[in-house]
Amino acid sequence: MSSDVRFTDFKSDKQPTWCPGCGDFGTMNGMMKALAETGNHPDETFLVAGIGCSGKIGTYMHSYALHGVHGRALPVGTGVKLANPDLEVMVAGGDGDGYSIGVGHFIHAVRRNVDMTYVVMDNRIYGLTKGQASPTSQEGFETATSPDGTSVPPVNPKALALSAGGTFIAQSFSSDSQRHTELVKQAIEHDGFGFVNVYSPCVTFNDVDTYDYFRDSIVDLEDTDHDPGSFDQAKDRVLDSDKEYIGILYQDEDSTPYVEREGIGSNKAEIPDGAPDGATDLVREFY
């Protein structure tokens, strides 16, 4: 597509109803910029959104889009991409959508390695339902449904992705706009399943995982000697619960995405007016 697409072309005329200060603003802006800067066009982009505060993104962005049922955004995105591999497919959701109700699909989407981008706005809380513990809430986190603090350890999505054969695993922070945009761009450009977990703070219901908390704890992998091509280093990083790393934790640049691996055909929307050529051979097979 033409390279004169601006990131505002991906913006709809609907004003977001996210709380002022919500991390999702920054997450979305980075996604729009990344899409524009990688040469995509709204008419050739498909955005799938899950359910939750994050799921509203389909309304605020402009592209072909589906806002689906809770937890099932990844299968929808996979279906879109396999039906028409020419489309740029981006899936967005939250930590509840992706790591709780949809965690089964997450694992399998990672395994398949379909060439699409998955952005998770991880605020470690259920915001839309007004403040319950999420699968990524830190242990001991006090919420309406865990007044004495959650007693279970959080899900580790990056470790899950790595163990499931992830080929692009990154972490970003919504308020570090430039770095976040860069990471989403790299995920888009990755040939395979580009997974970006975004720290996207909830200013209303999460007073633990705040902007200040992240600013204080984040370590950018670019400032370390981390080699994203090293599975062993990635393993150590994703299992290190003392630090909040951002950057590309792991990337396998040589992986073969699903469409190529399976030899999936191009745009399947176009079909003939009658049975396809050769269909009669199918009948003959039954002799």
Binding site: S12, D13, K14, P42, D43, E44, T45, F46, L47, V48, G58, T59, H62, S63, Y64, A65, L66, H67, G68, V69, G71, R72, P75, V76, G77, T78, G79, V80, K81, L82, A83, N84, D86, L87, G104, H105, I107, H108, E262, G263, I264, G265, S266, N267, K268, A269, I271, P272, D273, G274, A275, P276, G278, A279, T280, L282, V283, R284, F286, Y287
Partner: protein, 620 residues
């Protein structure tokens, strides 16, 4: 009336006392009259799961089909007795057959249990082929009046090159019993084993001949069967395969599913074939994913399909409303089996009608189509795709186990690919998009049109970008809770059903005497058995309406009012289709239900219809 197994049995005649039929000795035929009364032969092979029963049965069915005989098959998967009993049954005749009867003429029994399982269907003069040299079969007592043919299946198999060929030895023996030219078997063996090399094919042919010769040399009985052959060329396929072939013919290019009996054959059929036509199959991680994968493909513009059985429909119900409210064309095959819960996974049932009609929260239109024969599985699949796209709705295409996983023969012309017409509905291209943009240039994907059908722009269409959502939405596909818009969108979605009623022909299939006092109504695979039952109803004239369109459906009020007796036949306990008919016509109907897990048989249906009519007759 409820048919229980007890009610449908009987007629077992005890044979004359005769000793030694189970052993190898000359037998003087005396049941000729019985045998030649029937123009059909009922044949079966049974044993343990893993004995190659299915594959062997299919070879025989294919041999008959290639020899120009009609074939209808059925399978016994499990049993009243615990264990892995399984059987493949073939009914064959010169004329088309599409039902089973309570009669078994030739049985290859690989286990003793196989004989026990089929005692009710075996009769005086039935031939039982078994391997008496097997330790497990040494004590087999062939029931009185039946003909036991002891054939060393395993030994002859070894002679031909391997014990694994014992089933083929038995097929050869069966050819001799049925006077069926063994050359017909060769072709089926080639089809089955061709990819394993010439030697394997040759060994199998040899094994069949050893079986044939063994019977010829050791038994001098004239079995009186004479399986005539014709020059006709038939195709042999099951309902799942017909659905799969119909999907490819209809331009389906994406299928996602999760393995489940008895729907898996659709996915297996498509895998390796749909790719040749530019399509793809994805084995999903579960049915939740399967329907969402298909939904995604459909949003991208592909003709997409998913398929499952009852338990999968439960899971897919989560997304069903989303498919319907986003007005996404999607075909969902529900190959029914017996429920509830895990129920009887390998048994017949038509219990999901209410689920398909009413499943899911909220109110949303859906189409439900139920093909009534294996050929109709093909035709209705094509129609389902056309309806789905024309009306932008999810379509349940529902078959049932009895026709999904068993085969029957057809003239190949029945599947005429040149007759296939693809109708995609209101798809707009880049030029048409203009007409559907609002004043701000936004595409009205859910425009509330007069006929309820909105324009559809595939992703990639310039200026067509739009969103849609499971939230109530406005015509742009954006969330709304505005009262007027809500009502407008609900009404426009419902209006599509009215439009379909005006534009389409949703007629039942009619058989029998149109002026008969007795009206039989049914849906799904029962049609064949009822049609045969009608030939056995001396003196009772019947009009049969077999209804493939469940929603929207034909108005049967006139037919119901005109009849004295209205009988609704279905394979469930409560009469879900009968309820619909009563609701539509405000008339009471009689119900003939069977929920044993076994398909209706022609003879038991004839009896049930006769009984039902007799009950309402006023004695003179």
């Amino acid at each position: 009336m409820v048919l229980s197994e007890g009610a449908i049995r009987g007629n077992k005649t005890s044979g004359p006392a005769a000793s030694g039929w189970g052993s190898r000795r000359l037998f003087v035929g005396r049941f000729e009259t019985f045998l030649i009364m029937h123009e059909d032969l009922n044949w079966a092979i049974g044993g343990e799961a893993g004995d190659g029963i299915d594959s062997t049965g299919k070879i025989f069915a294919r041999a008959l089909s290639r020899a120009g005989r009609h074939v209808y098959t059925s399978k016994d998967f499990a049993s009243r007795i615990r264990g892995g009993y399984t059987a493949y049954k073939v009914r064959t005749a010169i004329d088309p057959v599409e039902s089973v009867v309570d009669r078994l003429d030739v049985l290859i029994a690989l286990t003793e249990r196989t004989i026990d399982e089929n005692l009710d269907e075996l009769h005086e003069g039935s031939v039982i082929i078994y391997d008496g040299e097997q330790t497990t079969m040494q004590d087999v007592e062939v029931p009185e009046g039946m003909i036991g043919l002891e054939v060393p299946l395993q030994g002859l198999g070894e002679e031909a090159g391997g014990a694994i060929m014992r089933n083929v030895v038995a097929l050869g023996a069966a050819c001799e019993v049925a006077a069926f030219p063994i050359e017909n078997l060769d072709e089926a063996l080639e089809k089955r084993f061709g990819d394993k090399g010439r030697a394997i094919v040759q060994n199998n042919k040899e094994a069949a001949r050893l079986g044939q010769e063994y019977v010829r040399e050791n038994y001098e009985y004239d079995f009186e069967y004479d399986l005539e052959t014709t020059d006709n060329d038939y195709v042999l396929l099951n309902g799942d395969e017909a659905i799969g072939m119909g999907a490819i013919a209809a331009g389906c290019r994406f299928y996602a599913g999760y393995p489940i009996t008895p729907a898996t054959d659709i996915m297996e059929y498509l895998t390796g074939r749909i790719e040749e036509f530019g399509g793809a199959v994805v084995q999903a991680e579960d049915e939740l994913a399967a329907i969402n994968l298909a939904l995604g493909a459909a949003r991208a513009g592909a003709r997409a399909m998913t398929g499952t059985s009852g338990p999968g429909i439960d899971l897919m119900s989560e997304t069903f409303g989303l498919v319907a409210t986003t007005e996404t064309p999607l075909v969902i095959a529900n190959v029914m089996r017996s429920g509830p819960s895990t129920g009887m996974p390998t048994k017949q049932g038509q219990e999901d009608l209410n689920m398909m009609l009413y499943g899911g929260h909220g109110e949303i239109p859906r189409f439900v189509i139920a093909p009534t024969t294996i050929a109709e599985c093909f035709h209705k699949t094509i129609e389902a795709f056309n309806l789905a796209e024309k009306y932008q709705v999810p379509v349940y295409l529902t078959a049932d186990l009895s026709m999904a996983v068993t085969e029957r023969t057809y003239e190949p012309e029945e599947f005429d690919m040149d007759a296939v017409e693809i109708e995609r509905g209101k798809v707009v291209d880049e030029e048409d998009v203009e007409a559907w943009l609002d004043e701000k240039g936004r595409f009205r994907a859910h425009a509330a049109t007069e006929d309820g059908i909105s324009p559809r722009a595939f992703p990639g269409t310039a200026d067509g970008a739009h969103m849609t959502t499971g939230l109530e939405h406005d015509e742009l596909g954006r969330r709304t809770e505005d009262e007027d818009v809500r009502v407008e969108q609900v009404d426009k979605r419902e209006r599509k059903v009215e439009t379909a009623r005006e534009r389409e022909t949703f007629e039942p299939r009619e058989f029998g005497d149109p002026d008969a006092d007795t009206l039989v109504l049914t849906w799904g695979s029962n049609e064949g058995a009822i049609r045969e039952a009608m030939t056995q109803l001396d003196g009772v004239s019947v009009r049969l309406l077999s209804v493939p369109y469940i929603h929207p459906r034909p108005d049967l009020t006139e037919a119901v009012e005109a009849a004295e007796d209205v009988l609704v036949v279905e394979a469930n306990a409560t009469g879900q289709f009968a309820d619909l008919i009563e609701q539509d016509t405000l008339e009471r109907v009689q119900r003939i239900n069977k929920y044993t897990g076994v398909r209706f048989k022609a003879d038991e249906l004839a009896e049930a219809i006769r009984d039902a009519v007799a009950k309402t007759e006023v004695p003179q």
